[in-house]
């Protein structure tokens, strides 16, 4: 079984649009939306949720005011600036957003006045779509994106693929190079980096290539909106060549990316047999050779 993870470094290069397009060509794959913080793939896939599970992401510290002796130990020990006196200045209270869930205040409180319940941070889903099964999630607003939820959706996609005899998982990845991206890279067969010929696109792509090398996962590059800037497109090709990264495709700037999204269709459904559809299909075939 293979997993292709679609990344970019820079946001807005076309990861989700292309992932959806590939899903509509592949037909035999399991889809995974690992961009759990601002998940958009479902807007094109229109999933029918078959199983929903709470995601418990850690714990949160809550002071029981009745038991609090206002000794200040919690405030002194908290390294996340989450503990403050309440508005009346009478008892200590913990800011839910700033609390890191480390439990130090809980363990050191001489009164045992701090509760430490598990926190629901989001939910994850197993769904069916017109292109096959999909595992996706919703991280709660302002929650810690510890990568745990990303790891979970990928594990569940793997289980589903095994159970259904599917050979390929296509994973829509998050932007950046931090915790959620690191969680989406481990164990992947290959990464597809979708970039654009802009100084930002190149800068950010280079960091993802560095990350891929750090974690020893092979990667390939697709240049979206490639005709926006010939010099920058050339710079991407040179960089890719120098770093042994195959360029699997070049997609011209095309308003159909947006037009198809607006009506909730994948590029392939919208373009059917026109130029853009053919280009994307060829790219998918090239990717297949590298997988």
């Amino acid at each position: 079984m293979k997993e292709l993870v679609v990344l970019s470094g820079k946001g807005g290069t076309g990861k989700t649009s292309l992932t959806a397009a590939f899903a509509s060509i592949a037909k035999d794959s399991v889809l995974c939306d690992a961009d759990v913080d601002a998940a958009d793939l479902h807007l094109l896939m229109n999933p029918k949720v078959e199983k929903r599970t709470d995601f418990m992401g850690g714990n949160i510290a809550i002071i029981d005011a009745d038991k609090c002796s206002v000794c200040g130990q919690c405030e002194e020990r908290c390294r996340f600036d989450a503990v403050h006196l309440d508005d009346e200045g009478e008892k200590y209270t913990i800011d839910e957003i700033d609390c890191e869930g480390c439990g130090v205040c809980v363990d050191f409180c001489p009164e045992g006045a701090i509760d430490f319940p598990e926190k629901k941070c989001g939910e994850w889903f197993i769904s069916s779509t017109r292109f096959g099964a999909m595992v996706h999630a919703r991280l709660g607003i302002a929650e810690e994106n510890s990568g745990k939820l990303v790891t979970l959706v990928r594990q569940e996609a793997r289980k589903l693929a095994e159970a259904n005899g599917r050979e390929l998982i296509i994973t829509d990845g998050p932007p950046g190079v931090g915790c959620p991206v690191i969680a989406s890279v481990g164990g992947a067969t290959a990464l597809l980096i979708v970039t654009e010929p802009t100084v930002s696109g190149i800068h950010d792509m280079q960091r993802v290539v560095e990350l891929a090398a750090y974690f020893k996962v092979p990667c390939m590059v697709c240049i979206n909106k490639y005709d926006l800037n010939a010099d920058q497109a050339e710079a991407i090709e040179v960089f890719a060549q120098e770093n042994g990264v195959p360029v699997v495709g070049r997609v011209p700037f095309d308003k159909q990316f947006t037009e198809s999204m607006v009506i909730g269709e994948t590029i392939m459904e919208f373009c059917k047999n026109n130029g853009l559809g053919t280009t994307v299909k060829q790219i998918w075939e090239t990717i297949g050779k590298h997988l």
Binding site: K10, A38, D40, R79, I141, P175, L211, M261
Partner: protein
């Protein structure tokens, strides 16, 4: 004043708006690029860097000579960064959140604080615009501690503009919290709207006044505008799709330099932000 520029969806134009806003003001302003995973503002402002600092996060170092293998450190750690088995103790510094619990609880004084490299903070100037950014070490998972370090450089008495990362989770919260105004940047598409709703949810949790810029405003549909009206989210500027703007952006050029009419537009945007902040203070909602 501290203005943070956020979006929800990536690629909507946060860095474009933040850098052009700073450049249009020209002086009495600092740009803090808190998108430490993929900092881009320097590509447009091209600052002269005057100071570079490597930033570390405190993680445990265990002196096995003093360790009694009592397991108190492993037991207190909620992040599985310490493991004790028999007469062996292992630390996993990359998992450590630096809560200090282990060295606080160790009865043998066997744990000292050492550093895990987070990345660098660089400071400088682009003409009269002050500049600071963080660059996360590739391989480092956590951005909020480095973002907090960048934010320590907020300069009082001037306008500080924070370029936030995409999304709505902890790195964005670290970039936005405690700021005076959140300028949200979106594109009028289903992805843009979906993620904007999440971002607005996050900003409301923080209780900060906010306003909207619609980028590529003629590419998509009207749902974002309808949403903005029903949410009382003031639309402070619209930037239509313009191949010229996109091409300038691709070259690392500021649109206020390449198309001077946009300089006035961004100065107008700043005035409207000031008005929003002032009116929210009057209403006691800011």
């Amino acid at each position: 004043m501290i203005i943070s520029v956020a979006s929800g969806k990536g690629g909507t134009g946060k860095t474009t708006v933040a850098t052009n806003l700073a450049a249009s003001m020209g002086q009495g302003v600092q740009l803090l690029d808190c998108d430490v995973e993929e900092p881009n503002a320097h590509l447009f402002l091209k600052p002269e860097i005057e100071k570079t600092e490597t930033v570390y996060l405190g993680v445990p170092k265990i002196d096995e000579g003093k360790c009694s293998y009592c397991r108190k450190c492993a037991d207190i750690c909620r992040f599985k960064a310490i493991a004790v088995a028999g007469q062996t103790v292992l630390t996993f510094p990359e998992l450590c959140h630096s809560c200090g619990g282990c060295w606080e609880v160790c009865p043998e004084d066997a744990i000292t604080e050492t550093g895990r490299e987070l990345g660098v903070v660089e400071e400088g100037f682009s003409n009269a615009v002050a500049f600071v950014h963080g660059r996360l070490r590739v391989g480092e998972a956590m951005s909020p501690p480095l973002i907090n370090k960048v934010r320590e450089n907020v300069k009082p008495g001037i306008v500080n503009i924070i370029d936030a990362p995409p999304g709505t989770s902890c790195p964005v919260i670290a970039a936005m919290k405690g700021t005076d105004f959140v300028l949200m940047v979106t594109e009028p598409t289903p992805f843009g709207l979906h993620d904007l709703r999440l971002a607005v949810g996050a900003v409301k949790l923080l209780g900060i006044p906010y306003g909207l810029v619609i980028n590529r405003s003629d590419m998509g549909n009207d749902d974002v505008r309808t949403y903005a009206l029903t949410e009382n989210l003031p639309i402070l500027m619209e930037i239509p799709f313009d191949r010229g703007i996109a091409e300038a952006y691709s070259r690392g050029e500021l649109m206020v330099d390449v198309m001077p009419e946009w300089r006035d537009a961004f100065q107008g945007l700043f005035k409207r932000i000031e008005e929003q902040v002032a009116s929210c203070r009057l209403q006691g909602t800011g």
